[in-house]
Amino acid sequence: MKDNKIKKDDEIKRLKERIRELEKAEAEHKQAEQALQKNTEKYRFISENTSSLIAVTTLDLMPKYIYISPSHKNIMGYSPEDLIGKKTMDFIHPEDKKKLLQLLTKYIGIKTRENIKKDKLLEGLTIEYRVKDKKGNWHCLESIINHYENKIIFISNDITERKRTDEELKKHHDNLEKLVKKRTFILEEKTKEINESQQALSLLLEDVNESRAELVAKTDELNISLKNTEDEKDKIDAILKSIGDGLIVTDLDNRIILMNHIAEDLLNIRLNEVLNKPLLSIITEENLRKKFDFTASKVKGGYQFDFELLGKNTKNSNIYDAKASVIKDKKDRAMGIIIVFRDVTQEREIDRLKSEFISTAAHELRTPLTSIQGFSEILKIRDDLDDEKKKRFLTYINNQAVNLGNIISDLLDISRIESGIGFSLKKEKCKINDCILRIFSIYKISHPNHSFYFYLPDKETEVFVDRVKMEQIIENILSNAVKYSPHGSEIRIKGKVLGNKYMVTLEDKGIGMTPEQVKRIYEKFFRGDSSDTATEGTGLGMSIVKYIIEAHKGNIWVESKLGKGTKVCFTIPISIRLEKDDKKKK
């Protein structure tokens, strides 16, 4: 029972405490209600005067407007009667409805829990969504949502403008970003390129440095080569200018670019006066111009021609043999023309004399052959000839055969002398008087119409000579004396000892010679009168005589007067002298 009493006491105590609590709570509630009343008024005042949009709706899945602030009129065009009692969702943008509903669901959840704590305010949640204004335009609102009891309070700000600005800003930003990205990309690419270029440049620079070093080396080499080339050029120039032949070099347009002293002298011009002038402009003589008027194509393969120029100190013109050739470079391209010419006057004269000699020699050979062939054939075919005729013809044949032999000997002698072989002298002790007498006795018989006189020393003189050659000399001189003297005229020969020499003088009273003919008497092929074919001879005799005498270390000279006669003297050294009396014989 005690327990029951305690229980009752406790119950009473607890109830009393509960009543006190309730009283306290009622007081607090009243206080709160008063405060709330104050607050509500305060909030209404704020709500009525704020520029924010304040709207209160029901708290359920189909919220309806309960209250809207007057600011809606200005911003959204709605009056309270336009919205109160209307479904909130009807004014929300279709895309934002779901978002808003999800949020509202959270509050509905809270509403359920409100059974425990009724007046607890859910902390304000912020949401952005679009609401249609009275004209049908969409406004973007940013709302802080609260709930109070079973109501939802939307405190919203129209951020349409801000949003738009933001979007534009964002757009700008994006554009800017894009641009920056693009620029960055380009910049990166460029940087890459620059890096690559820089790398390449570095390599190039290295190469350039190497090349430069090489170039410097090459330049040095080149300078040396250049100097060598110049030296060579000078050398070649000097050689070209010093050669004995005349030399003219022209370019392809026939302008003079080089000329040596010989050419300068011959054409009587100086290179520095005619340099780069056309070759033809310096040649005045018409025939000469024709000869020098050539082109590279004409002289291709060499073009040889003769021309004549008046000699510097003579009245006679000299003959020049010229050859023009094309100068080619390494690649075989024509660069110009080189004309080389030399004085061939003397050579031509020698050629002329030689051809005259051949002609004369042929004539000389044919003359005896005419007798030999003719008379031998007569002897063969004619049986009516008497003995005297037969003998005479045979003598002709024999004489001409001997004559032919002599001519051939002369030709061979001169050919030996000419070729430098000369004679081999078979020297022996020889009585010079005997040599002279032997030849003279022969001539006395064969030329009975001439008068021969001897003046020889009585003292027998021995000389050391080639006897055959000595007789050849005497015979040769004597034959000339006979050939060029009229019948019956005197021919004298004198022998005289002069110190260690023996001098022979042979004198005729014949046709004689002009000083010019005397001067040329030892010239090969020279004959006093080349048309005189009755007078046999090749024009070689005196050349051979002079050669033989000089080979014996002797001398020969000739004195002559045209129409008066000729005197030929020669000396030879004496080897042994034998004393004998002078003799005079006829």
Partner: protein
Amino acid sequence: MKKILIADDRAEVRELVEITLRAEDYQILQAKNGQQSIDVTRKEKPDLIIMDIMMPGEIDGIEATRILKNDPVTKGSIIIMLTSKGQKEDIKKGYEAGAEDYFVKPFSPLDLIKKVEEVLEK
């Protein structure tokens, strides 16, 4: 009988021509240079002259031929040049001077007879 003049400065050649042609019944005349050949031709008017080209003196065979061929009195004589050269230049000169033919030394007497016959028959 036809007259033939042999003009040559060499006696042997003149004798050779004479002995060759006389046997053929020709009358043979001789001249030892150009001037003589003209003199004899003017006087004797031979049918044929055998004229050596190279002869001494101012008148050689070519010149003598020219003179004879330009003289109405002597131009009728046929002239054969006798040359030891046989060179084209001499032959040309001889023809230019008026010679009718030429004959080269050395020669066969039989060939000379043929040549003379041939020339005189024309």
